[in-house]
Amino acid sequence: MKSTYVWAIVAGMGLANYTVRFIPMALMARLEFPKTVQRWLSFIPVSVMAALVVGEVLRPDGKWLPPLENPYLFAALPTAFVYYKWRNFLGTTVVGILFYLAFKALLG
């Protein structure tokens, strides 16, 4: 592949990805939002998290897996329970990986 072509894309990608992050953050940090907008924004994190879990667990790597053959789904349930009880972020992530390895082995 031509070097100038690749470098143009690498530079452009860096710039474009930075712009979509920085402009909204810098602009909106200067505003005071009305109460309704503040409440709306306060619901964004939990909504994003739920959507991310659905995508990562039900459709890993962009492929839907049948629920009963899905080690991601089987591992996510006890992982959620362990965090609910233990409240340890990093520890639960590691335990979750162990659950996943176990279910992956079990489900073949």
């Binding site: 930075y18 709306w40 994190p45 909504s47 659905v54 039900l58 979750g96």
Partner: protein, 235 residues
């Protein structure tokens, strides 16, 4: 919504808060190294030099966007269409950056510029969780960003420079690091009944939107839908 995250009851030093962020971001590191490695291997196999692959990861820090960029380059697309495609894929960062914005008011403009650089799905999830429970601030956000960036660039370098040395990182189950982390953060965010209901609505919308929308648009669509539902129902 806390507007002055720096005024915690106990105010640890900036260095302590930075270290706390590095700890909070460590699961991201675990998840980014193998995916970065995959990107590095793929980039090399498609004729990018190691320097180009590493430079791309170091400046874009844009998982899905980078993979799509690679495949379009491979297909010989022109520069503009590659850039438009990778940018559109990552437009959800606009929503994330806007949601984070009230928490970075105390930072200077250069500080905000530095924090904005590290906004991804994963850093957003970890930072919002910490900010909402009072264990996050601009310094911990910097730590989260630094450890995430390091994992992504280190992984890319490993893949681009010689993946034969480590073999297949997936035998360690690292592909579950990100799903496990998001699951944990979802439980952490479901702090009362309202949030549980909104999470269920978001999950249902995510399934529906993932079936009909391309790429990662279901995240933005489900989040906007569920947050609007919450705002209307819980006034």
């Amino acid at each position: 919504m806390p507007t002055t995250p720096l005024q915690q009851p106990s105010c640890p030093s900036a260095r302590d808060r930075l270290v706390r962020g590095i700890r909070q971001g460590f699961p991201i590191f675990l998840g980014y190294v193998p995916v970065g490695t995959a990107f590095g291997i793929l980039a090399r196999s498609w004729d990018l030099s190691p320097v180009q692959a590493i430079a791309c990861s170091a400046t874009a820090l844009a998982g899905a966007g980078q993979f799509i960029g690679l495949s379009l380059m491979k297909a010989g697309a022109d520069v503009a269409s590659v850039l438009v495609a990778t940018t559109v894929v990552n437009l959800r960062y606009v929503l994330f950056a806007a949601t984070l914005s009230p928490y970075v008011k105390t930072a200077s403009l250069p500080g905000q510029a530095a924090l904005a650089f590290s906004v991804t799905d994963e850093t957003f999830a970890v930072n919002m969780n910490a900010l909402r429970r009072g264990t996050g601030d601009v310094w911990s956000m910097a730590g989260v960003g630094a450890v995430a960036w390091t994992g992504w660039v280190l992984g890319t370098a490993l893949g681009a420079l010689g993946s034969g040395l480590i073999g297949d990182p997936y035998r360690f189950g690292v592909e579950f690091a990100m799903p496990a982390m998001f699951t944990v953060l979802l439980v952490a965010q479901a702090e009362d009944k309202r949030h549980v209901v909104i999470a269920v609505v978001a999950a249902i919308l995510a399934v529906v939107f993932a079936l009909v929308l391309p790429g990662k648009w279901y995240i933005v669509a489900a989040a906007i839908g569920a947050a609007t539902f919450g705002t209307v129902v819980y006034r």
